[in-house]
Symmetry: C2
Subunit: 219 residues, 2 copies
Amino acid sequence: MNKQDIQDVVYQVIERMQDSNQSSSEVPIGISARHCHLNKECLEELFGKGYELTSKAPLSQPGQFAANETVMIAGPRGSIEKVRILGPLRSVSQVEVSQTDAFQLGLKPPVRQSGHIEGSSPITIIGPKGSVYLDKGLIIAQAHIHMHPDDASYFNVKDKEVVAVGIDNGERKVTFEKTLIRVSEKYRLEMHIDTDEANSGAIKSGQYGHLKKVESTDV
Amino acid sequence: MNKQDIQDVVYQVIERMQDSNQSSSEVPIGISARHCHLNKECLEELFGKGYELTSKAPLSQPGQFAANETVMIAGPRGSIEKVRILGPLRSVSQVEVSQTDAFQLGLKPPVRQSGHIEGSSPITIIGPKGSVYLDKGLIIAQAHIHMHPDDASYFNVKDKEVVAVGIDNGERKVTFEKTLIRVSEKYRLEMHIDTDEANSGAIKSGQYGHLKKVESTDV
């Protein structure tokens, strides 16, 4: 072994030691592409009376799935095809896009947590059997971490708390300082960021971020 | 004035006091859209023998300009039209895109500082009079701050140091932890981020970021 080899090995060992020291704050990352949630009324307008979503693949959150069905969404400047519907159906329809998508549509959606669509952007959804104009429902999702109450107690955080999460892939390192904690018995530990956030840090799904408490916590 | 009004005023006053406290670390942000730098040989291949760039608008860095001329760039999966050429000409051609653009092109450029193109991605550039295949030259630009030596001494940083810059626009707050300092007599203080980084923080050109020293500094 030459000097360079030894240096490389030492470096790798130190890296692993650091990783294991930090493991207590590690959260797996999932990247959310643009998608929509529909209510029964919308689904039937778009796909026909009595239509039911079919599951293409389960999502990491228990009971949630990516449907085979996709729609087109449109705004005043442009449209985006093949936007995946996530199931199951909800009581309120909502479309989540990135800022990059929003430019393409010509719309200015606010950054919101899921379900908080009051005052959000209007959006047109086009399906194979009809189209729907929602006067609100288009948002950019706020970065958030789904977790079970056991995780919340482990990380010492509570529902709706805002934390910082740093993600380092070697080339880029970025910290999302307004990451919302969402706690439910139904959730499995995973941080969700959108494609802009992922690209800003050259982040891939399955990487880990490091959770850090911040001073002013509540939204 | 009711209680809510008074609370709002107090909040605004505190915000401004905090702003003025932090002004010592403030850096203006500029967002770089995809662009290319060409050498004389490339320019002539693309636009014809003896062609010279014409200035559309000066850039914030003294002597630099956005040219009227644009090119198309292409990779194995797709192409992007109207990529702006920045002048003046350089000795080495280089194309800078976002990760979002890289997906569209079907290429995997590394994150690099400008000029460091060894081992970067190949890229095809198409102009009105011809096209060029570069076997390297496509990069994603590392976030960086241009500054004059006077700024460097003011911020207590040196050329090639890596710092963190936090940018808060209210909705999103993101910190770019690997921001490269670049010092030159010719530079004017400005941080450059790409469109993915801007979108991840809902950041607009002209906003300010807060510079923070980090522990391990040199690249």
